[in-house]
């Protein structure tokens, strides 16, 4: 037996995020199997998003655009999102140690060693590494901050049963709310994105940003609310562009302790 199509008003409320409880569960169940209502929901999402136009436009500070364009240029020099297919077509997934995390680990080991010697100009060394490895400037800067802090943590994210092959790594400092993610996962299906989450001890998972399947050739910087201690980090498969809360299956998970 098929259920009747969703009421357009219900789809508006769903798109707005206002529905909850049984109403939402019922609509979720219907939407799973109804392409027609899925399309209607897509239209409703756009419609409701436009309510935000009621907020008066505000010009951001010019520095925001400057910083954005600097990041874009840095990525063009050393792409952090570009996949590099294997010539043989074979990938060693599983326990493969990603280059990006290898870089983070190298920086961590280097910084720790030099910190012990207490005679290090850490900034100079980091600049040398930056030049040597041609890494994304923002990621390297974040790594420098994190690896210089004794309360930073390394978390390895492992693939899940029946999930795509892959592995990821997060180097994170909760006090700073700053981290770097690197890893590699099988390419996401069309129209889907991988999204990283900080899972706190209590409360909702916190969006840590959309990540690329191949993030092993360069780490991506994660900036979250300082002071939020992670119980775990996870990567889920989400609709393109990510979602405010996880909606898809967990692909990688790593406990913080």
């Amino acid at each position: 037996m098929t259920t009747p199509h969703a009421n357009p008003e219900d789809l508006d409320l769903y798109a707005l995020g206002a529905l909850d409880g049984e109403e939402k569960q019922a609509l979720d169940a219907h939407l799973r199997d109804c392409p027609q209502c899925q399309q209607q929901l897509a239209a409703a999402r756009q419609r409701t998003a436009l309510i935000g136009l009621a907020a008066p436009p505000m010009a951001p500070r010019p520095q925001v655009k400057s910083a954005l364009m600097d990041k874009v240029r840095a990525e063009k020099r050393a792409p952090i999102t570009q996949a590099t297919p294997s010539k043989t077509g074979k990938k060693r997934w599983g326990l493969r140690f990603s280059f990006g995390f290898g870089l983070a680990t190298a920086v961590l080991a280097f910084a720790t060693y030099e910190f012990a010697k207490q005679d290090l100009d850490r900034g100079k060394q980091l600049r040398q590494l930056q030049a040597q490895l041609s890494q994304d400037a923002a990621a390297l800067q974040a790594m420098g901050q994190i690896t210089g802090a004794p309360d930073s943590a390394q978390i390895t994210l492992l693939q899940q049963p029946n999930g795509p092959p892959g592995q990821g790594h997060v180097l994170y400092n909760a006090r700073m709310g700053l981290g770097v993610y690197s890893g590699q996962i099988a390419p996401a299906p069309s129209g889907k994105s991988y999204q990283l989450w900080l899972v706190p001890s209590s409360g909702a998972p916190v969006d840590a940003g959309v990540v690329d399947a191949n993030q092993e050739n360069g780490a991506v910087v994660v900036r979250l609310t300082p002071g939020l201690a992670p119980k775990a980090f996870a990567v889920t498969l989400e609709p393109l562009g990510g979602r405010p809360q996880p909606t898809g299956p967990k692909v990688l998970v790593g406990a913080a302790s």
Binding site: G17, I51, G52, V64, L68
Partner: protein, 181 residues
């Protein structure tokens, strides 16, 4: 000279043209920043979300199909999602039930908000429509949109019966639907 359409700029971004991103930023950053600042009430946080949003656009330009949807609407949807997510993280709210699915991969384009004049007119219409709503309906709708609250959360926060909140949000959306398309 006619401004380049979004679709052409997205195509140029796919080829690594920074100037295309710059143009799109100039076109939509104020619209987005206004919304983000209203949600987050924190200029620095709004700037960070704005920058991440355009960085995501740059990185995912190859995946965006202009023929299937409106770029500014996509930016509004994703920007709002990210701002509310950040707001929730800050508040350390309760774990939400994982949604069983999400289907908003495309955004049907019923409003042409690429054009600045039309966008400004639509913004005026929405503002007027909101102002014309009874104050209790407008407040309920604004809590849902700008605070990311569900109907139950609005009822809990305001002390108003859930049934009343549902009626207010639903009626407000019915009123706006004519304008939103």
């Amino acid at each position: 000279m006619q401004p380049a359409p979004d679709s052409a700029l997205v195509d140029r971004m796919r080829t690594g043209d920074e100037a295309a991103l710059s143009t799109l930023y100039d076109r939509y950053s104020a619209m987005l920043f206004g919304m983000l600042t209203r949600i987050l009430r924190d200029q620095q946080a709004a700037e960070e979300v704005l920058q991440d949003l355009f960085l995501q656009l740059w990185r995912n330009a190859a995946q965006f199909d202009s023929a299937r949807g409106s770029l500014p609407a996509w930016l509004m949807v994703i920007g709002r999602n990210r701002a509310i997510s950040r707001l929730r993280g800050r508040r350390d709210r309760e774990v939400l039930e994982e949604e069983a699915g999400d289907y908003a991969n495309t955004f049907a384009s019923s409003q042409n908000i690429e054009d600045e004049a039309q966008r400004a007119q639509l913004a005026r219409n929405i503002s007027v429509a909101l102002q014309q709503l009874p104050v209790e309906q407008r407040q309920a709708l604004e809590l849902a949109y700008f605070e990311g609250m569900t109907q139950s959360e609005i009822a809990s926060q305001t002390g108003i019966p859930l049934g009343t909140v549902k009626t207010r949000v639903r009626t407000a959306m019915q009123s706006l639907r004519q304008i939103l398309g």
